[in-house]
């Protein structure tokens, strides 16, 4: 038996062979050889991406444990302590209504991440379905879907979002939906491209011969083939969505006070006096937005290199 094994086998594998039926072994081997395992290994070699990931994890923990970390309430108004400079009691000072800036910053992380992640997820989901259907069905279905995508891409997205928020009224769900509506075409085009490439592959023909329906081919071959790139686009979309949320909230069309978001915290910083003399009001949320978006983009770049090594070093 053992002489039949390829010579490159390590003792570790041979040992694993004995417990070949157990799940543990499956995990060990698949991590060694599967495309996913290889991508994870490549990602971990990218130090900047890993640093970005660690930073995001910290922000996430901050958001999740906001009530523990922030001693003050983010909405408690104290008119006797307006625009106070940072002190032992208020680590980052207070805002125009006497609310604790640190507490607001921490709670705002929840809103920003939530909006960013959900808007990106929705956009990617919509884009994947549209792109795959478009590529697989072709013909007039493809034409209609792709021209719709082109139309969405040719509008300035911020204008669409402002109009939507204006008509439907500003709220977090509307914010998520309107960001998703303007960003799905990017994913759709990408997935359509992958679908067109995979559609002509012999193994898809083989699947058709084996009796697979279009739905089956989408689930088992096309979406998995595009998954790497979908994850990358999804990550970059999170960064874009966080930015969009900040912009809209800054303009007063997104998250409404008294609920805090990084964008509407900046809203308070519109006057020159605040900018010049009260940096604790705008510097923390500004830095939070910049650092988070940068970290997300680092992770996205790392993922792209991990998923498709041929593209590394390009960007």
């Amino acid at each position: 038996m053992s002489d039949l094994r390829p010579s490159l086998d390590t003792p570790e594998v041979t040992a694993a062979e004995e417990v070949v039926a157990t799940e543990t072994d499956t995990a060990v081997r698949s991590r060694r050889r599967s495309p996913l395992g290889m991508a994870v290994r490549r990602f971990r070699r990218n130090k900047i991406a890993v640093a970005g990931g660690v930073f995001l994890l910290l922000i996430l923990l901050l958001a999740v444990f906001a009530p523990v970390i922030a001693q003050q309430s983010p909405t408690a108004v104290d008119l006797g302590a307006i625009r106070r400079a940072p002190s032992g009691e208020h680590w980052l000072g207070t805002d125009a209504s006497g609310r604790d800036v640190f507490a607001r910053l921490v709670y705002a992380a929840r809103v920003s991440l939530l909006v960013g992640v959900f808007a990106a997820l929705l956009a990617v989901l919509l884009g994947t379905i549209v792109g795959a259907v478009s590529g697989l069905f072709g013909g007039w279905v493809d034409t209609v879907l792709m021209r719709t995508a082109d139309m969405m891409l040719s509008f300035p997205s911020i204008v669409i979002i402002i109009v939507l928020a204006g008509i439907l009224g500003p709220s977090i769900p509307i914010l998520v939906v309107s960001i998703a509506i303007t960003t799905w075409p990017t994913t759709a085009r990408l997935v359509r491209g992958v679908t067109l490439a995979v559609r002509e592959r012999e193994y898809l023909h083989a699947a058709r011969v084996a009796g697979a329906s279009r739905g089956w081919m989408l689930r088992k071959h096309i979406v998995p083939a595009a998954m790497g790139q979908i994850v990358v686009v999804g990550t970059i979309s999170v960064a874009a969505a966080i930015l969009a949320e900040a912009v809209l909230s800054f303009l007063g069309l997104g998250v409404q006070p008294p609920q805090a978001s990084w964008g509407n915290m900046l809203n308070d910083a519109q006057s020159l006096t605040v900018i010049q003399s009260m940096p604790w009001l705008w510097l923390p949320p500004g830095l939070a937005i910049a650092a988070t978006v940068l970290a997300v983009n680092f992770v996205g770049d790392g993922l792209r290199d991990a998923v498709d090594p041929r593209q590394s070093g390009r960007s």
Binding site: M1, L4, R5, E17, V20, A21, T26, R29, S30, R33, S34, P35, R201, E202, Y203, H205, A206, R208, V209, A210, G211, A212, S213, W216, K220, H221, P224, A225
Partner: protein
Amino acid sequence: MVNETEPLLVVDDLAVEFRTDEGVVKAVDGAAFTVDRGEIVGVVGESGSGKSVTAMSILGLVKSGRRVRGAIRFRGRDLGTLPAKELRAIRGAEIAMIFQDPMTALNPVVSIGRQIVEALRLHDRKLSKAAARDRAIELLALVGMPDAAARFKQYPHEFSGGMRQRAMIAMAIANGPSLLIADEPTTALDVTIQAQVLDLLRIAQQETQAATLLITHDLGVVAELADRVVVMYAGRVVEQGDVTTVFTAPRHPYTVGLLESLPRLDRDVDELHPIPGSPPSLLTPPPGCPFHPRCPLARDRCRTERPELRVVGNGTTVHRTACHFAEELAALPTEVTR
């Protein structure tokens, strides 16, 4: 309604056309043959003779082509009139296919085992993952995969060409089909592996009792494996019959030409005789017999009247040919014997 008296597969006067910029290509023009249960039928012919299009028509998967005439009946059901859903249920379960190039016909980023498991679960949604996995390992072992359980988790690139073809065959027989279509199953393989894969096809055939339609341009493969042979030329069946009969006493000049152009190890042949000329354009097929421009026996009747497939000889098996002058061939002392 399953008709048990009719052969498993009946291809009846099949004609498939492709519309191209230069005109209508008659890829298949009146092909007719049958396949019985458990029988291995070889379909031979040059590139462009319509053999692959015929195979794809059986599965109802001719891309951009159009069936203009004829019927394909499988177990008495006309595959051309079945709704898409029923056709899908037949594909892969009752009619399975083995591809020419196992490298491209397998998904490179999915493990071999999972691909077989999915082929199983595609047609049996109730099959549990564990049961499908056991069955897949069993199938891999059946096709002679050493250390099947470990191979189960490997990816196509970790397999040699022969091993990949084994995996393809395992996948094809996974659902116990009653008809296997093998499209040039050995063409992409090394000569040494070809023999193994042929053995394997024989084993797979015996194991599943599936009838096999062996599409190839390799007469040696047909002689090795098939019970009956169908010779196609320019989209038509020109000769069919028992392999021994057709190869020892061919009754169509094209078959004679094919056999004479074949190098052989078992006999001292001074010279090979290729068939003069080249296959006709399917855009403008010649009138009458499609083979007449290249045929040494051609005369006026061949240029005008299309020969129909008719029974010749008085052997125990049915031997058909589409040649007006088949009897003259019988009179010639043919050199080609097995």
